[in-house]
């Protein structure tokens, strides 16, 4: 019998109260008719098989009823429903999108087996962390026992010809053991083996290139292709999610150091990745590499002077700025989620208070507390679910926009997708908020204390709720102040950055790249012929004011740093204060970018090998080495030769707007002699022209095609784009933050407005009495405004404090703007105050228009 009573508990309480005894009575009769143990067991089994589905069906009936009721109730207050759904959608959507992207970039493990054992290695000198020299790489690899394997790579682009249009492709030269160090097996074919380095003609291509260039041909293995005019054979295709060292790499060749490469120890261009031995820690590896580096410094005191070793987990190579950008975004979206929850809670509380009477009536009419609570649970769940669904849509729409924040240099796939876990978390938070702030008041209303609501009408009660609502509004104001100030600080930082003079004028300058392949262009005369022909024809185009070729564009390439040795200075070559950035260039580079020529002359066609090695240096170079001296004619040793200064130009921010740059040295393009300087060979064509890009570009393409039909053109950009790119990810983040801040501001204004309107309508009798007793309407207005003011101040003060803390945390992003920037704080606080006042106006006016007679009579 107890068994049956327990079974009956499966029914909703309301059903049980109504029919429990009846059901039980039927069971008693049945049970009495059954004989023996088997009969009893059979009765129980039958009862079980009866009650379980029937109880489920009854629950389902109630749910359908509640859903119908909910939809009707929501249709009756569409304003409430829409606001609640919108608030939840924004909170869940923004949060999910931001965290999905952050997780993708910051947290998700790299797509390699046991990524925690993969380590990036660097040479560490005072002020610099740089790639390894081949010689040091060889010795580190041979000496470091904490590594299971170690591989190296050098990235460069190649011209792919022989299958369709000539194409410029990002490629990487890798030691044969790099792919196995990363632990990745090819999708088809095979990876490199030591034997492949003998002739170096084997290549592995990316899945993407296999699709786009080779139409997914299964026969691609063994196919011959031409890279920079030399034949290569495809031996493997990498899996679709393999992107190393960066997303743009399409092809891998083998890297093999010649004996002569291994001699140099101060030409740093080798990127190195190691896989730690099982059980070895990063600390051990660092200590071991430190010992090796010290030994090598003793062995090569000049070239390896002050050269230590640095090792960092491969997963940890994100720049501090990117990390902060994403964290700031996550913080902001968390703020929005909190705000959304606070707002939802507020809305539900307001609704609960206004429904107190309805619920009390229903309770008095015999609807059990359980039925009422159940109804409310259904309602808040429906609201949260609708909001959550809309939130998913917001997230799906927002994630692609946030992808701009994913740096291109990471070895991960292209597109982050909406993260289910984050979505569930945000959804759960919203549902919990919804339940907490709808069910508790409902239980209270339906319970004994609710009867008071019946007796007193709608004016009293809700004191606690009112206080909770005030706290919620304060939290909303606080969150919006934090967001406003943080995004304000970032806007100021952005303005400051955009105001920075890059040292050149980017307007009306078009650039494109024609990388001349070696060995085809190994002979300097063949290069000169190409440059002369192209530049001559381009300069002859109508509208073109000047054109030049340069090794690397400023900002597009930030490296190329070489030690400078001046006469009389120490022979020290490894220190930040004695290096300069190197560019080889043709004449007219300075006039094309409008970099001012301060003294002397531009590089010239006549600066050829055999003549004195000319150099044009930047202003800061002169200030560093020959302050207060006439620089023209001074000599220094740079890139293996003695150079003589022939000109001085203005400084350029080669490393980008946000970083200080080394002094610059420009060398004439005709004085490149060594094959291993080929990376510096001018390849970027810069054109200053008044012609629109659409007419200029076809003409330039034709000219290049005439000079060399097999020469691909790549990286067509305007100089403006390159400068804008400096601030692109900031701009993307800033836009999002500003949208979030605006949303927060609106939400908090809505919150204040809602709370005050509600207070006014509930206190209309009190206000009426006050006015009947002689209070002026201005006084009443002031009373309401004061309430709003108190709420605003209570939110703004802690908000400003938190914002200051947040500003301190992201100081690296602020480009010199102080975290306590007065202008930003003042603006944000005024803005927030103004919004608050806006939110107060209507309730205040309504309060002052309360007619004492009506208000009192209404009771």
């Amino acid at each position: 019998m107890r068994f049956y009573r327990a079974l009956l508990r499966l029914y909703p309480a309301s059903f049980r109260a109504e029919y429990g005894d009846e059901l039980y009575a039927v069971f008693v009769v049945r049970r009495a008719g059954a004989h023996g143990v088997f009969g009893a067991i059979a009765t129980m089994l039958i009862a079980f098989a009866d009650i379980v589905p029937s109880a489920l069906a009854v629950h389902w009936d109630i749910l359908r009823q509640d859903l119908r009721y909910t939809l009707r109730a929501l249709r009756q207050s569409p304003g409430f429903a829409m606001t609640a759904v919108l608030v939840v959608a924004l909170g869940v959507g923004a949060n999910t999108a931001a965290f999905s992207v952050a997780d993708f970039v910051l947290i998700r493990p790299l797509p390699f087996p046991e990524p925690d054992r993969l380590v990036r290695l660097w040479e560490q000198t005072p002020g610099y962390q740089m790639e390894l020299s081949p010689g040091n790489y060889k010795d580190w690899k041979a000496g470091a026992k904490s590594f299971e394997s170690m591989g190296a790579y050098v990235s460069s682009a190649v011209n792919l010809t022989g299958s369709g249009e000539p194409r410029r492709i990002q490629a990487s030269r890798v030691t044969f053991d790099l792919l196995s160090t990363l632990g990745v097996k090819p999708y088809s074919g095979r990876g490199f083996v030591a034997a492949d380095t003998v002739d170096g003609r084997a290549i592995v291509i990316s899945y993407d290139l296999w699709q786009t260039q080779f139409g997914r041909e299964p026969t691609v293995l063994g196919k011959r292709v031409d890279l920079d005019g030399s034949p290569y054979t495809i031996i493997g295709v990498m899996p679709p999610d393999f992107h190393y060292p960066s997303r743009s790499i399409q092809l891998w060749r083998t890297l093999q150091f010649a004996a002569s490469d291994l001699v140099t120890r101060n030409d740093n261009y080798v990127d190195v990745v190691g896989r730690l031995r099982h059980g070895a820690t990063l600390e051990q590896a660092r200590a071991e590499l430190g010992v090796i580096a010290t030994r090598l410094e003793r062995q090569f005191p000049v070239e390896n002077e002050k050269t230590g070793a640095a090792a960092e987990l491969l997963s940890n190579q994100l720049s501090e700025r990117t990390r902060l950008l994403l964290l700031a975004l996550c913080g902001a979206s968390l703020c929005i989620l909190l705000l959304a929850c606070a707002n939802l809670a507020n809305l539900l509380l307001a609704r609960a208070v206004s429904r107190e009477r309805e619920l009390a009536v229903r309770a008095a009419l015999g609807a059990g507390r359980e039925r009422i609570v159940r109804q409310i649970v259904t309602e808040s769940t429906v609201l949260s679910a609708m909001g959550g669904f809309a939130g998913v849509l917001v997230a799906i729409a927002a994630v692609p926009g946030l992808t701009k924040l994913v740096p291109n240099s990471l070895p991960i796939g292209q597109q982050p997708s909406v993260d289910l876990r984050v979505l569930l978390f945000a959804g759960a938070l919203v549902v919990l908020t919804g339940l907490a702030f709808s069910v508790l008041p409902a239980m209270q209303a339906a319970g004994a204390s609710g009867l008071a609501g019946l007796r007193d009408g709608v004016r009293a009660g809700g004191g606690v709720k009112q206080r909770v609502r005030s706290v919620l509004v304060v939290v909303e104001v606080m969150a919006s102040v934090v967001l406003l100030i943080s995004s304000g600080l970032l806007v100021r930082a952005m303005w400051r950055l955009q105001a920075i003079d890059p040292g050149f004028h980017s307007a009306n300058v078009v650039t494109l790249s024609t990388a001349l392949p070696w060995p085809k262009y190994e002979d300097p005369r063949s290069r000169e012929r190409f440059y002369t022909k192209v530049l001559g024809d381009v300069r002859g185009l109508p509208g073109v004011q000047s054109a030049a070729y340069v090794g690397h564009l400023p900002m597009a390439m930030r490296g190329g740093i070489w030690p400078v040795i001046t006469r009389g200075a120490s022979e020290s070559i490894r220190s930040a204060s004695t290096t300069a950035s190197l560019r080889f260039t043709t004449p007219q580079f300075f006039s094309t970018l409008q970099i001012p020529l301060l003294q002397g002359r531009d590089v010239d066609e006549t600066d050829t090998n055999g003549k004195p090695n000319a150099a044009v240096v930047s202003e800061s170079f002169v200030k560093r080495y020959w302050p207060n001296e006439q620089p023209i004619g001074k000599q220094f040793k740079f890139v293996m030769r003695d150079r003589v200064v022939v000109g001085v130009v203005g400084d350029v921010r080669v490393r980008g707007l946000e970083q200080t740059s080394e002094p610059q040295v420009y060398l004439p393009y005709n004085q490149i002699d060594s094959a291993w300087l080929n990376w510096y060979t001018p390849k970027d064509l810069v054109i200053r022209s008044t012609m629109p890009l659409t007419t200029l570009l076809p003409a330039v393409r034709r000219i290049i095609h005439e000079a060399d039909p097999l020469q691909p053109i790549s990286d067509v950009r305007t100089m403006d784009e390159i400068v804008a790119n400096e601030t692109a990810s900031r701009l993307a983040q800033l836009r999002i933050l500003m949208i979030l801040a605006a949303v927060a501001l609106v939400l908090s204004a809505v919150g204040i407005h809602g709370l005050l309107s509600f207070t006014v309508s509930r206190r209309s009798r009190e206000i009426g009495v006050r006015m009947a007793l002689g209070a002026e309407s201005a006084q009443v207005r002031r009373m309401v405004l004061r309430e709003g003011f108190v709420l605003a101040v209570a939110g703004i003060l802690p908000g400003a404090a938190i914002a200051y803390g947040a500003g301190r945390g992201m100081e690296a992003l602020l480009a010199g703007v102080k975290p306590g920037d007065t202008v930003t704080f003042a603006t944000a606080i005024i803005l927030c105050g103004a919004t608050t006042v806006l939110g107060c106006i209507r309730p205040a006016v309504r309060a002052s228009r309360v007619d004492p007679m009506t208000a009192i009579r209404a009771e």
Partner: protein
């Protein structure tokens, strides 16, 4: 005759009736019965073929009360026949109308089947 408090459309909205509902309506057509009485009546009328389970019965009763097909009458049966603890149910005019409509629907269905030469006996 007073006009019924329901429209023909209300009646049609209930059709087709679930078999259990139809049986319960039949059981309370001639006299008010309590739950167990309904179960027994259905069993007797169907020669033991249909045994309503208690769960099915009371869920049906709950819905039928809500739909207005049956009511709990205020007057109880004669004291000698009354079981104090039990709740009795009786059919409403609306319930009768719905039962009739369902009957019509079923009869028509049977007639249509017969016209096509279908017979209940297997060949």
């Amino acid at each position: 005759m007073p006009s019924p408090a329901f429209q023909p459309a209300d009646v049609d909205a209930q059709l087709p009736l679930p078999p259990a509902t139809f049986h319960i309506l039949m059981a309370v057509t001639d006299e008010d019965r309590h739950g167990y009485g309904i179960i027994q009546d259905v069993m007797a009328r169907t020669d033991g073929e249909l045994r309503l389970s208690a769960g099915t019965l009371y869920r049906s009763i709950q819905r039928m009360l809500e739909q207005g097909l049956i009511v709990e009458p205020r007057r109880r049966p004669a004291p000698a026949l009354d079981d104090e603890r039990r709740r009795y149910y009786s059919i409403t005019p609306f319930g009768t109308a719905v039962a009739r409509a369902e009957m019509r629907r079923l009869t028509q269905l049977v007639r249509l089947a017969r016209a096509r030469g279908l017979t209940p006996e297997s060949a």
